[in-house]
């Protein structure tokens, strides 16, 4: 018979003591493992929550952008490229034109701050057939800048020999879509009657650019180009000016400031609000995690200490129970180191068993709490398991060291006398 066999038989004999000892170690290990895995579950939940929130926010932002774009269409173009000497406030000085070739030059450029442009030739004329002043506007329809996102045009193209009438004109002359109107001896079919806009657009007649050039005798010329800056950040205006000046000499860019800023501010505020909501959620989750960590930092060591004390008590009680046995073994010539081995060996086995049970219990705890074990437990956790195994064995040995030493140093005469 060997000492290991004696050890195994003793453990099998005192099952309750063994079970309680293993439970004690398992409790400490389960708390440690559970705390780590539960924090990991929390991290995964945080990741999922923030990701879902981010996705929702992005979807809402995209939707909002689209809605904004549609709403902003009603505001029209927000930039105007004109000859640098063109004076918008003085009709007399509105006689400076740009070459029509500027349209293609801009369209073919790699300007990134402008999405789409609307070239136009515009002149206030006396409408002899109706005996009133109107503004005749010739346009090609919208032209997209190369590589630009080709969105739905803000201004529909005017078909050849067709005209689009401003509200004040068709309202006062009682003209409807489909009617014919004659302007400077040229007849057009009314393609559309525009709704009231409250601006100078209400007094405008829109016709194809080439036909306006013929009527106004401005072949190959345009007044300017309306444009939409789609990036909408106020700071972009400096960049737009720089890009346009480099590309189209003798031009200036006039921005409808209020529209531009309003658009930029609304979009920026929305984006900031969405980001802030995400940041607030991150901060809340971070604080929650810190609170959990603080709790675990107190709770886990407390459980470990209680486990060690409880284990020491159980081993001490085991030593007292085995007093006579220790006396017999000593009387039979078993040296102190062998008696020490019996108790330390038991501690190692209890530590190993407790670590395995505790690790399993910790993982089960995660499963019970709704965490998906497969996503929480990683292959790298083998080192965590080994670490806990070592800690559990060490913890068990520490708890049993003093009782084992007492047992090994026990006076056999006293053990036999007191054990009787």
């Amino acid at each position: 018979m060997r000492l290991v066999s004696l050890l195994a038989k003793e453990m099998a004999h005192r099952k309750l003591n063994l079970a309680l000892s293993v439970t004690s170690v398992a409790l400490g290990v389960a708390c440690g493992v559970g705390a780590i895995l539960m924090l990991r579950v929390f991290d995964l939940e945080t990741e999922r929550t923030l990701s879902a929130m981010d996705q929702r926010s992005r979807a809402a932002w995209d939707n909002f952008q689209d809605e904004m774009r549609k709403d902003m269409l009603k505001l029209g173009f927000n930039l105007m490229i004109l000859h640098k000497e063109h004076n918008l406030s003085s009709p007399a000085e509105q006689t400076r034109y740009l070459p029509e070739s500027y349209i293609n030059r801009l369209a073919e450029s790699s300007v990134v701050t402008i999405n789409h442009i609307l070239p136009f030739l515009q002149q206030k004329i006396w409408w002899p057939e109706k005996k009133r002043w109107v503004t005749l506007v010739g346009t090609t329809g919208e032209v997209y800048v190369k590589n630009a996102n080709q969105q739905k045009p803000m201004q529909p193209r005017v078909a050849p020999q067709h005209a689009v009438l401003g509200f004040a004109i068709h309202q006062s002359l009682e003209i409807k879509a489909g009617d014919s109107v004659t302007v400077m001896d040229r007849t057009f079919t009314v393609a559309e009657c525009l709704p009231a806009k409250g601006f100078e657009e209400d007094e405008q007649i829109w016709i194809p650019l080439n036909e306006a050039q013929e009527l106004l005798d401005k072949k190959g010329l345009i007044t300017g180009m309306l444009a939409v800056n789609c990036q909408c950040a106020p700071k972009d205006m400096i960049k737009i000016h720089r890009e346009i000046a480099a590309l189209l000499p003798d031009t200036k860019v006039v921005e409808h400031n209020s529209r531009l800023v309003a658009r930029a501010q609304v979009r920026s505020k929305s984006a900031v609000e969405a980001d802030q909501a995400l940041e607030r959620e991150k901060e809340t989750r971070k604080q929650l995690k810190e609170r959990r960590l603080a709790f675990a930092a107190v709770f886990v060591p407390l459980v470990v200490v209680v486990s060690v004390v409880w284990l020491a008590f159980l081993i001490w009680s085991n030593v007292r129970q085995r007093k006579t046995e220790i006396g017999i073994l000593s009387a039979m010539g078993l040296p102190a180191r062998s008696i020490l081995f019996l108790f330390i060996g038991k501690a190692v086995i209890v530590g190993l068993a407790g670590a395995l049970v505790g690790f399993g219990a910790g993982v089960a705890l995660v499963a019970v709490q709704g965490g998906v074990v497969a996503t929480v437990v990683r292959s790298s956790d083998i080192s965590l398991a080994v670490g806990y195994l070592l800690v559990a064995v060490l913890m068990s040995m520490v708890a049993s060291w003093v009782p084992a030493l007492v047992a090994a140093r026990m006076d056999p005469a006293v053990s036999l006398r007191e054990g009787d």
Binding site: E10, I328, M332, G333, L334
Partner: protein, 220 residues
């Protein structure tokens, strides 16, 4: 002489102060003889037995095994001395409850390691325990338990048998069997020292000593 006590004294510390259990006792036991020590309860019989067995270090005097002072040995050497030369038999048998009869008999092998006899079959047969070899102590009769204790004491073929009231818990028939075994052990050349109240056992002793208040006197 195989073993001897030379003017030994044993003192216990108790709550009421030191208690002199054994006072200036000298005793020699030769190979092949049975020596009986008797006396009233608390007279120091068990303390004397423990001191001779290397389990209780006397405060005074010395215990000699052949020419060696037992208590000058280191703790581990004294454990080895007990394992090789001493066989203990206790009144309460002191069997290990979770070991079978066979395993209990082999307990001295735990300390002896590979030098221990491999097969306790002869001992089992000698003490008529063949049918009980796989049983636990709790499944044995009182007489059987004491026979297991006797068999265990002989496992390492010791030179000396120290028996503390070996018949104290037994009925007449089992007591007679134990006495026969002790006689046989002495007959094999072992020194047998028994502490006993049993007059039948004393009758088989070569010499008898009376111990009272820790003082030993030889009786006719």
């Amino acid at each position: 002489m195989l073993i001897s006590a030379e003017q030994i004294g044993v003192t216990y510390r108790s709550g009421k102060g030191p208690v002199l259990a054994v006072r200036d006792v000298s005793l020699e036991v030769a190979a092949g003889e049975i020596v009986a020590v008797y006396g009233p309860s608390g007279s120091g019989k068990t303390s004397l037995l423990m001191a001779l067995g290397g389990l209780l270090c006397p405060d005074a005097g010395r215990v000699m095994f052949k020419d060696e002072d037992v208590y000058r040995l280191s703790s581990s050497d004294r454990a080895a001395f007990r394992n090789e030369h001493i066989g203990f038999v206790f009144q309460q048998f002191h069997l290990i409850p979770y070991l079978t009869v066979l395993e209990n008999i082999m307990v001295p092998a735990l300390a002896a390691g590979s030098s221990a006899p491999a097969d306790p079959g002869d001992l089992i047969a000698r003490f008529n325990l063949q049918h009980r070899a796989g049983h636990l102590p709790s499944e044995l009769s009182t007489g059987e338990r004491q026979r297991v204790a006797l068999a265990r004491s002989l496992f390492n073929s010791p030179d000396i048998i120290l028996a503390d009231e070996p018949t104290g818990s037994l009925d007449e028939e089992n007591g007679r069997i134990v006495i026969e075994h002790l006689k046989a052990m002495a007959g094999e050349g072992r020194a047998v020292l028994v502490v006993t109240h049993d007059a039948r056992l004393r009758a088989h002793a070569s010499r008898r000593f009376y111990l009272v208040e820790g003082r030993l006197t030889e009786q006719e």
